[in-house]
């Protein structure tokens, strides 16, 4: 690929896609169904980008990021329902709570390596799942927590149309992409990647391994909780399964795994691809009366990626150059 084509791929194409998505809500033939799918994709991408920081750059395969998604969502929702705090404020409390939990959770798990870390984070997730189900009066238990509906309200960050969430989601995707790029280029990113590649050699080189892991974990947790707030506002509800369940923990990994672990563009490509596939297959499945086929497609795509493109879409594209 010559240089101009590469520049187009790196700069012009993303800006073009950004512009098209931003114009979509204004177009007459774009209905709310399509817009909602786009918002789902943008939230999916943001959560995937946050997980990518800890797993892709830091090499820590956390299966516990649902905890931060859930805390961001539940805290934002509870503060609104109980105290009338607007989500603009409440979500930051959710971020703070997540940071505190991440500090404790990281302290317990970050010294473990590989699969042991992953399993420990699953355990924390399941503990939060139980807590959310147990305190029925506060969290709504198994049924989950629904936001008090306010109609269209900027103050309450609620809207009948998904259009405003398209813009909120775009801001998230762009900012999270920027944060990822910044971390990759920073000293912290270098240290995280060194720890990912070889913990022992990193320590021998003077990298404070635990501190580095903790910093990455905290950044990632805060980003996940913030996106969790957006999740709550868009879906207007959250329940233990969709926050702390194992299914969600796996979902959070897909954008980065499919798009390319540790790359800034990976979660965007992976997340977009997954939502498009899931929409197409669901539509096809509804016609054929075969519901839930999207999960099958997820599994299939993941299998294909692992077999033929272990470094994801970005890795496959790079190799072709």
């Amino acid at each position: 690929m010559d240089r101009r084509a590469r520049q187009f791929g790196r700069v012009a194409l993303p800006l073009l896609v950004l512009a098209v998505v931003a114009i979509l809500p204004a177009l007459p033939f774009v209905n709310n169904y399509i817009l909602a799918a786009i918002v789902r994709a943008l939230i999916f991408i943001s959560l995937g980008q946050a997980w990518n920081i800890v797993a892709g750059i830091g090499g820590l395969l956390s299966l516990g990021h649902g905890v931060f998604l859930g805390l961001g969502g539940y805290v934002t929702g509870l503060l609104f329902n109980l105290l009338g705090w607007p989500p603009w404020l409440g979500v930051w409390v959710g971020v703070l709570v997540s940071l505190a939990v991440a500090l404790v959770m990281g302290g317990m798990t970050l010294r473990m390596r590989g699969i042991f870390f992953a399993l420990a984070t699953v355990a924390v997730s399941l503990a939060f799942d139980q807590l959310a189900r147990h305190y029925v009066d506060l969290t709504g238990g198994d049924n989950g927590l629904a936001l008090k509906f306010m109609g269209d309200s900027l103050w309450a960050m609620q809207s009948r149309s998904p259009a405003p969430f398209v813009y909120a989601g775009l801001v998230f995707v762009v900012v999270y992409y920027g944060i990822t790029r910044w971390i990759l280029a920073s000293q912290l990113g270098l240290e995280m990647r060194a720890v990912r590649d070889d913990e022992t050699a990193a320590a021998a080189s003077g990298v404070a391994v635990f501190r580095t892991k903790m910093l990455g974990f905290l950044v990632s947790a805060a980003m996940t909780a913030l996106a969790g707030g957006l999740y709550m506002q868009f879906y207007q509800a959250i329940d233990p399964e969709s926050a702390f369940g194992l299914g969600q923990a796996i979902q959070l990994q897909l954008p980065a795994l499919i798009g390319g672990l540790g790359t800034a563009a990976g979660p965007i490509l992976g997340g977009a691809l997954m939502i498009v596939l899931s929409e197409i297959t669901n539509w096809g499945a509804a016609k054929l009366g075969f519901v839930g086929v999207d999960l099958l497609v997820y599994g299939l795509v993941l299998l294909l990626v692992v077999l033929w493109a272990p470094k994801g879409i970005v890795g496959a594209l790079r190799r072709r150059r």
Binding site: L190, R193, A194, R196, D197, D198, A201, A203, A208, V209
Partner: protein
């Protein structure tokens, strides 16, 4: 005061003692060798000095300052650079990034570019490969990179764990040749080896067997020892 002094050091993994009551010390400018077969405890001693495993007993001091109890990155920042066994490159970082990581522990932070240039001058082959991923280097190049990483720290003490392991004879000769040059730049070296040819470089050393010091002394004494003759020269 010795640059490094190890006194009565014991290291254990669970109930198994890997190092028993080992003592040695050396001064600035020396090349000190820990020689011994597999399982003699050489690597455990290095890992203990750099804070990766705790000491069961005894003490490690550098210029009178106690090292045991410090965490690995603190030891590295105190100017003691450890090149672990198996070369330990970062496969998904470029050669240049690999070297940059080592500068994290460097004392002379302001001169990163100068240190990098020095390493490239030292190992021209690395300069040619600077944009390449660490994992794509040959064994000898990886060892250069690992040593280059340690040199960038401008260490007081460079500890190398079997730098010749798995290298072709030509490459290992090249690595030892470079070590001699590093030493000429006033860096003290603690070298762990199974390969007795490294004694050529040494000022002094100890021979370890089953976690104990079998023999300690000047280079000549070690070279002439019964152990080295029997184990390595077959006479």
């Amino acid at each position: 005061m010795s640059l490094l002094a190890v006194e009565g050091l014991s290291v254990a993994y669970g109930d198994v003692l890997a190092v028993r009551d080992v003592s040695f010390a050396f001064e600035e400018g020396e090349v000190f060798v820990l020689l011994g077969a597999n399982g003699a405890g050489k690597t455990s001693i290095l890992r203990c000095i750099s804070g990766m495993v705790p000491a069961r007993g005894g003490a490690v001091t550098s210029g009178g300052r106690r090292l045991n109890g410090l965490r690995p990155h603190q030891v590295a920042r105190a100017g003691i650079s450890h090149v672990p066994e198996g070369r330990r490159i970062f496969p998904n970082l470029t050669v240049e990034e690999n070297l940059a990581v080592s500068f994290i522990g460097a004392r002379a932070h302001d001169n990163a570019a100068g240190a990098l240039a020095a390493v490239y001058e030292f190992f021209p082959r690395l300069a040619e490969r600077r944009r390449q991923f660490g994992g794509t280097l040959s064994g000898g190049e990886q060892q250069m990179r690992a040593s280059g990483r340690a040199i960038m720290n401008v260490p007081k003490l460079l500890m190398l764990d079997e730098p010749s392991l798995g290298l072709s004879p030509v490459m290992s000769e090249l690595v030892f040749e470079r070590l001699a040059a590093i030493r000429a730049q006033n860096t003290t070296i603690l070298l762990v080896e199974q390969n007795a040819t490294c004694l050529e470089l040494a000022t002094r050393g100890v021979i370890l067997q089953n976690g104990r010091v079998l023999l300690s002394g000047e280079r000549e004494a070690l070279q002439d020892s019964e152990f080295v003759r029997r184990a390595y020269l077959g006479v």
